[in-house]
Point group: C2
Chain length 190, copies 2
């Protein structure tokens, strides 16, 4: 990630044994026997994931675009940022532009990196690249065959109410909306 606080040369784990128990389309699973810094010897179950991007699209009038889709793992319809996995060889910015166009049919003039974070570093190596897209113009959306996506447009005040009522209940989406609230003085005061 290149922006860490750990000192260079920080102690790393020594891998004593590794076993790939599953190799799939979206993820793989390793069970590793490791010796971590501080002489911690442990067996770690690690989901390997190629990394993701998510985009907060902001219209010229300040309204935000979210998508709602059925998520089988949690058996629920979830409001989220337009998002997806990195394709092989693709940069995070390229993936963000691709997902924005595929999922909501928008092309941004400007794509600003917001932050990069680990979604669940206790058991998964997924890195999430968050962007903010502005200068949006509409093109045709092209959802993937296994996606049914509904888009919605919200003022920041409305999104803030949704957070307060527990209606935004997905990690990356909370991070991006709360960053947007922090940068807009008028929304903060409400």
């Amino acid at each position: 990630m290149g922006r860490g606080t750990e000192p260079r040369g920080a102690p790393r784990a020594r891998v004593l044994a590794t076993r790939r128990v599953y190799e799939g389309k979206v993820l793989s699973l390793d069970v590793d026997e490791v010796e971590e810094p501080g002489d911690v010897r442990a067996e770690r179950e690690v989901v390997r994931h190629r990394g993701s991007v998510a985009v907060l699209p902001v219209h010229d009038d300040g309204r935000l675009v979210l998508v709602r889709q059925y998520r089988y793992p949690v058996d629920a319809l979830v409001w989220e940022l337009p998002a997806g996995r990195l394709d092989a060889g693709e940069s995070a910015e390229e993936a963000a532009r691709r997902e924005l166009e595929e999922e909501v049919g928008l092309r941004p003039r400007r794509l600003e990196p917001l932050t990069v974070f680990y979604t669940t570093p206790g058991f998964c190596d997924e890195t999430m690249h968050l962007f903010r897209a502005t200068g949006l113009r509409g093109v045709a959306a092209r959802p993937e065959a296994d996606e049914r996506i509904e888009a919605g447009t919200f003022t920041l005040a409305r999104a803030r109410g949704m957070i307060r009522r527990g209606e935004i209940r997905e990690g990356k989406t909370l991070v991006a909306l709360l960053m947007e609230i922090a940068r807009r003085p008028s929304a903060r005061r409400r």
Copy 2:
């Protein structure tokens, strides 16, 4: 989660076949053949996880407590909220109190639920319960055998600077700190 926006009786997936490819200590992995709402037929790789809690400890003077620990999946030292998995039969509040005491040796007079969210609903069912702990008093910390945890105390202004510089790079921790920034007028204006 009981606080969703989807209508009652919303269409749910039909599971055509399920295969448990791994059953572990921290997580299990299923590969399910499903028919989702909107006639989407798909094979879904789903990490099953029992759910987690995380706590933002806030001292009487407003300073916050974070922990830094080595996370093998991402091979990095990561600043995070005190956090952990739910034990069997344990409520989220009980788990939050337990983790706070185990990891940083603090007992709260008040534990306020902040939000509940999915960490990665695209491939995992983990639910994260976030709390804010106040009225803290010190007791002895009791880290688990496979944990090496360093605690740090930060003003909110300092935490905000760490977010800006990309030094806070974990999902739940960003959510809790950004919620804290949103609720404290003095921190927001900086």
